[in-house]
């Protein structure tokens, strides 16, 4: 993607607003930041790029006063400061939007915005509202001030978080992987806001591991790797390939995997399926699709077009209004996850933390979530057999853990996903429904997930891969379908599909494939 070539900063006249020198932070015996130097200039958008665990969030949490650095110094506007709490940071006009929002769902946008920022005893809501509307206008952050936050989509909630920071007069805005939760269109809106902020002289730190976004939005990139600064580049002097190398220390495979050699009969069929969402609106509208064994069907589409509801209906978590799902030619009873499991459907849910895993329980208990009943003898669980089963899967899927008795919460995101993969793919599934299987994972973990999905295809499973990541779809899929407003906009063989065509379908433009 190309970015508008209007340089917003000039090397000659940049003034540093934040200088972090030799920042060091360790957690127990893990070094999260190893003598990091980081400078942020006025009016720039600086991307902090790195794999999961590279220390990006830690560094910014130190700047925001969440953590105290073990050593090193921080200067803001040239003045040496000690930040012992976020409040100190807010006073110095720093704002941070975390990955997990800190909003009160039952309160309105306006109430959430002013919370914690009222100086005196009385709160002038009229004045607050005027200030909020002014900020919304200036930075294109349009959300209804009187809407309760729980009614807003994720993108809207993120806007409230940004408004909250700006309401407190932030001049330095830190965003921790802001696009991880956003649909492409929302991302575009966010970028508009960030550009407007930079144009007004605010400085933005944009934490990400998505290369093309960094290339598009940032003026400057600081690459962190294993707690240290690996490189610093002006965006115009670099490209995605170089950044990828700096980030992971090796070239990424950009070629497409070869298509399936052996495609069989349809194994997973969806027949005029209609599903309502939580707000009782039709999210999936009489959708039909057939996936053959030994084939990966990549379902592309902007999120929020019914993919979540489709996946939940297939998983058995949501009862459809109409239509059928057939597995191996036989209909699956609706709303019965157990039957889907018994009939060998592997399910990789998009919310691995909240749907796929029992974070408070152990690794072995998570590995037998679906088949614990098969370890039963006279109502009791055969713990020895469960242990052997777990040890085998931990070895086979390379799950890094302190052992099968470790509490799942202590594992990294990539290893949590491996638990799910091990659980779902080890029982030679007939069909696989994978929803956003690599979202939020680092490059190494993504490659591993891809490898396992391809292996499942080789062993003859019919695979529905639902993903917002077009690169992923083009990399893995044999056929590509695009979902738009609950319907299939178009289906094409991967080797005949162009990115442009798919992009058109995603935005709801239906033209015959060229």
């Amino acid at each position: 993607m190309s970015r508008p070539d209007t340089p917003r900063t000039h090397l000659e006249e940049r003034t540093p607003v934040v200088e972090m020198r030799s920042i060091r932070k360790t957690f127990l015996d893990v070094v999260a930041n190893r003598d990091v130097d980081f400078t942020l200039y006025k009016g720039e958008i600086c991307a902090l790029l790195g794999e999961n665990g590279a220390g990006k969030t830690t560094l910014m949490n130190i700047l925001f006063g969440y953590y105290a650095a073990d050593s090193g110094e921080i200067r803001i506007g040239g003045e040496k400061v000690s930040l012992s709490s976020p409040r100190d940071a807010i006073t110095r006009r720093i704002g941070m939007v975390h990955q997990h929002f800190t909003l009160v769902p039952s309160q309105t946008v306006l109430e959430n915005t002013v919370v914690g920022s009222c100086g005196g005893f009385f709160l002038d809501m009229g004045k607050a509202r005027r200030k909020l509307l002014e900020l919304q206008r200036r930075f294109g952050l349009h959300v209804d001030p009187d809407a309760p936050v729980w009614t807003l989509p994720i993108g809207g909630q993120q806007k409230v978080e940004i408004l909250k920071a700006l309401y407190r007069d932030a001049r330095i805005l830190i965003l921790d992987e802001p696009t991880a939760v956003l649909a492409p269109l929302e991302t575009m809106e966010l970028f508009g806001t960030l550009r407007a902020l930079a144009a007004e002289g605010c400085s933005v730190v944009f934490i990400s591991h998505k290369l093309y976004e960094v290339m598009e939005i940032a003026d400057r990139v600081v690459v962190l790797s294993k707690g240290s600064v690996a490189a610093e580049r002006e965006t115009r002097d670099t490209d995605e390939r170089e950044l990828a190398n700096l980030m992971v220390g090796r070239e990424l495979a950009v070629q497409r995997h070869s298509g399936s050699q052996r495609r069989g009969d349809p194994a997973l069929e969806i027949r005029s399926l209609s599903v309502k969402n939580d707000k009782e609106l039709e999210a999936v509208k009489e959708l039909s699709l057939a996936i053959r064994s030994g084939e990966i069907l990549g379902m592309a589409g902007v999120s929020g077009n019914g993919q979540r509801e489709l996946a939940e209906a297939l998983f058995g978590l949501r009862v459809p209004d109409g239509g059928d799902v057939l597995l191996g030619g036989e209909p699956l009873p609706p709303g019965r996850p157990k039957t889907a499991v018994d009939r060998k459907m592997a399910r990789i849910p998009e919310d691995r933390m909240t749907t796929g895993l029992l974070l408070e329980l152990t690794v072995e208990e998570n590995l037998v979530l679906e088949n614990h009943a098969s370890f039963r003898s006279f109502g009791m669980l055969d713990h020895a057999a469960i242990g052997r089963h777990a040890d085998r899967l931990i070895g086979e899927f390379g799950i890094t853990t302190d052992g099968r008795r470790a509490v799942a919460r202590t594992l990294s995101g990539g290893n949590l996903q491996k638990i799910i993969l091990a659980r779902e793919l080890s029982a030679s599934p007939r069909a696989v429904v994978a929803a956003q299987p690599t979202r939020g994972l680092d490059v190494g973990a993504i490659e591993y997930v891809h490898k396992r999905i391809l292996e499942a295809r080789e062993s003859g499973a019919a695979i529905l891969l639902i993903s917002e990541d077009l690169d992923e779809i083009f990399l893995l899929a044999d056929r590509i379908a695009v979902m738009y407003e609950g319907r299939i906009m178009g289906v094409a063989e991967r080797d005949e599909a162009s990115r442009e065509q798919v992009g058109l379908w995603m935005s709801g433009v239906n033209e015959p494939c060229a």
Partner: protein, 350 residues
């Protein structure tokens, strides 16, 4: 003040937390004792002597610990599965009513069978009473804290109706049932004491709950539902069925507390058959960290306080309701201790 989530603490600290909480509670209890004008040293000495000092006192403490163990287990088992059963009191009363009914009209059967019948009736009555809020929770998503709590009062008044009506002792104007038949009473197991069969049953219940929790398929499913109902459903577990079964078992345990009070202690059904054992069960379960073994230990601790407070009161003039003050204090101390084990609190000057 800043509160932030802590990294999980090592296991031995987790074990030390309740012990520390107990010590802190005893220490803090000095304040109300002093206010009440008690001599500190004498107060604590008489408290422990009264509860543990002689064989008889020790056995009385065991007697008191039995219903507390049952209600503590009832709450702990339910809380583990995130079924917020605040209704052990009502379920206890349901169990007591059923036990009294069966005990008064005991059929002419061998004693063992009659006792089995009494226990079964109490268990089922308590369990059935607990399934009402469970049904409301699973079918209509009615908040279980509210329903379980409010049903306590419903059961109390139902008992009042029975004791002024069908279950009232003939010729009496007091709300009191006829005595349960000799054959339906728990045997006393140690001479010159009230140490009865129910205490052994309570210890058996501890083992059963531990076994169910950690060894059975149902225990696994109930744990899964407790930590994440959505993921449990995703994994094919019938969440509603697990909640119903949990409620039945939890209510049944509370019902057994009522059984013992009727057929081993009072031999009549009375309006004040329970001095709040069901509510104490909540504190006991929390202090026992929802673990069955922890629960029986904390039930014993509370029993020490309750029994000991009586002799402390006799010797020092500190009112017996100091026992309730100490119980309340224990809950607050334990909640603070749990907060501190999971969160780091940092004081910051404004």
């Amino acid at each position: 003040m800043i509160v932030s989530k802590r990294a999980p603490l090592p296991g031995w600290i987790q074990l030390l937390v309740p012990v520390g909480a107990v010590l802190a509670t005893l220490l803090l209890s000095a304040i109300p004792i002093l206010i009440a004008g008690g001599d500190l040293w004498l107060s604590y000495a008489s408290l422990f002597k009264g509860a543990l000092g002689t064989r008889y006192n020790f056995l009385e403490t065991c007697v008191k610990a039995a219903p507390l163990t049952f209600t503590g287990l009832a709450v702990a088992f339910a809380f583990r599965a995130k079924f917020w059963n605040i209704g052990a009191e009502g379920q206890l009363l349901a169990g007591a009513i059923a036990a009294a009914w069966v005990g008064i009209y005991a059929p002419p059967l061998p004693k063992a069978l009659v006792l089995l019948l009494v226990c079964a009736a109490g268990f089922l009555a308590g369990g059935a009473w607990a399934t009402i809020p469970a049904l409301l929770k699973t079918k209509y998503r009615v908040d279980d804290v509210v329903t379980t709590l409010l049903l306590n009062y419903v059961m109390w008044h139902l008992m009042g109706y029975l004791l002024f009506g069908p279950l009232q002792m003939p010729g009496s104007s007091w709300p009191r049932s006829p005595a349960v038949a000799e054959i339906a009473r728990f045997p006393v197991l140690l001479i010159r004491s009230r140490f009865h069969l129910g205490i052994v049953l309570a210890l058996v219940a501890v083992l059963v709950v531990w076994f169910v929790n950690s060894k059975t398929v149902f225990g696994y499913q109930s744990r899964a539902v407790g930590v994440n109902p959505r993921a449990a459903a995703f994994g094919g577990i019938n969440v509603n069925a697990v909640i119903m079964k949990t409620a039945l078992l939890s209510g049944g345990l509370a019902g057994l507390a009522g059984v013992g009070e009727v057929v081993a202690i009072h031999f009549h059904l009375l309006m004040d058959i329970s001095p709040g054992f069901g509510y104490s069960g909540i504190v006991i379960a929390m202090l026992g960290r929802l673990h069955p073994v922890g629960t029986v230990l904390s039930a014993f601790f509370f029993s020490v306080i309750i029994v000991g407070a009586q002799s402390m009161s006799r010797l020092t003039g500190v009112p017996t309701y100091i026992a309730e003050v100490i119980q309340g204090m224990a809950l607050i101390v334990m909640l603070i201790a749990l907060l501190l084990t999971e969160y780091r609190v940092k004081a910051v000057r404004d």
